[in-house]
């Protein structure tokens, strides 16, 4: 490893630290979920009520399930099923997406500021 390598690694670690300082937030239990398709208007649902939500995305219908203050993707017409493998989400700030179907879900905390306010 050369000296320039070490400088690069230190700078990269600083960059990670800066990003963490700017975007990391303490986790609290979420009580709402924001569901968005593409850049459309986000729909907000309460996590208190057990229900299934059908979301019509770019490829087809993604099925979400809310139960016991948590939410998960039950099915989605994508190939990798990354969204389904994310499993149950329950903490504020948790988010997952079915990228091929353009469906994003993000959990919001109790009385937490709008996520829009995170940008530095």
């Amino acid at each position: 490893m050369t000296r320039a390598d070490r400088v690069v690694i230190v700078l990269a670690a600083l960059l990670v630290g800066v990003a963490a300082g700017a975007y990391w937030q303490p986790r609290t239990v979420a009580d709402r979920v924001e569901v968005q398709v593409g850049d459309g208007t986000p729909q907000v649902y309460s996590l208190d009520t057990q229900r299934h939500i059908e979301v019509h995305g770019a490829l087809g219908t993604s099925m979400l399930e809310i139960e016991d203050g948590r939410i998960r993707f039950v099915s989605s017409p994508c190939r990798n099923k990354v969204c389904i493998h994310s499993g149950w989400l329950s903490m504020s700030g948790d988010a997952t997406a079915c990228l091929p179907n353009r469906v994003t879900i993000a959990l919001l905390g109790h009385g937490a500021p709008e996520i829009d306010a995170v940008s530095q």
């Binding site: 490893m1 050369t2 000296r3 320039a4 390598d5 400088v7 690069v8 690694i9 990269a12 670690a13 960059l15 990670v16 990003a19 963490a20 975007y23 990391w24 937030q25 924001e34 968005q36 850049d39 190939r79 990798n80 990354v82 493998h85 700030g93 988010a95 997406a97 990228l99 091929p100 353009r102 994003t104 993000a106 996520i115 829009d116 995170v118 940008s119």
Partner: protein, 189 residues
């Protein structure tokens, strides 16, 4: 004397070299694609070790070919060509190759402060992650919640970039030195 057309169709030494390394990179790319990742966007990127080795042994032109062929053929074989995954991969690869160009220029301009495979790999990994994150954020999910993943994604890029670079440097150290007839950007043909 052969007709001109057939001379053009004969692969030269550098073509064979590029094909060989691209095949290796594609094999690694496909192997990696078969492992699930805990967070979308994070994977070790071991195929980039091949690009790095080609860059440091055979020059920039061969490295660009190997990198581009890997993304194109790799995604064709995995089945993600023209899907969002492909565009993320392609934008990341484009940016990381641009950064490798800058790194190669840096090493030519300042041989005293040259970057080894490890530094180049970290820079390329960060560029790859930034490129695909930017495309994901701007094109596919312009949601502020995605920004929360950024520290994790950059941290993973730093970690895997270092590991990949270390692997590449170990392999480079074990490879026999190139013969003087080596193909490369600066070498006489």
């Amino acid at each position: 004397m052969k007709p001109a057309a057939s001379i053009n169709a004969v692969p030269d030494q550098q073509d064979r070299l590029i094909a060989w390394f691209a095949a290796l990179a594609i094999a690694i790319h496909i192997l990696e694609a078969s492992f699930p990742s805990p967070v979308p966007g994070i994977k070790p990127g071991l195929a980039n070790a091949v690009t790095l080795i080609v860059l440091l042994r055979h020059g920039l032109r061969a490295a660009i070919w190997v990198g581009a062929l890997r993304v194109l053929v790799g995604s064709l074989l995995v089945g993600s060509l023209m899907t969002p995954t492909f565009w993320l991969s392609a934008s990341g690869a484009t940016l990381s190759i641009l950064v490798l160009c800058l790194g190669a220029a840096w090493n030519r301009a300042l041989p005293a402060a040259r970057l080894s495979a490890i530094g180049l790999s970290v820079l390329a990994a960060l560029a790859h992650m930034s490129g695909q994150f930017f495309v994901a954020y701007r094109l596919f999910i312009p949601h502020p919640g995605l920004l929360r993943l950024l520290p994790l994604l950059l941290g993973a890029a730093l970690l895997f970039g270092t590991v990949t670079g270390w692997i590449a440097s170990r392999i480079l150290a074990r490879l026999p030195p190139l013969a003087t007839s080596a193909v490369g950007d600066e070498a006489p043909r």
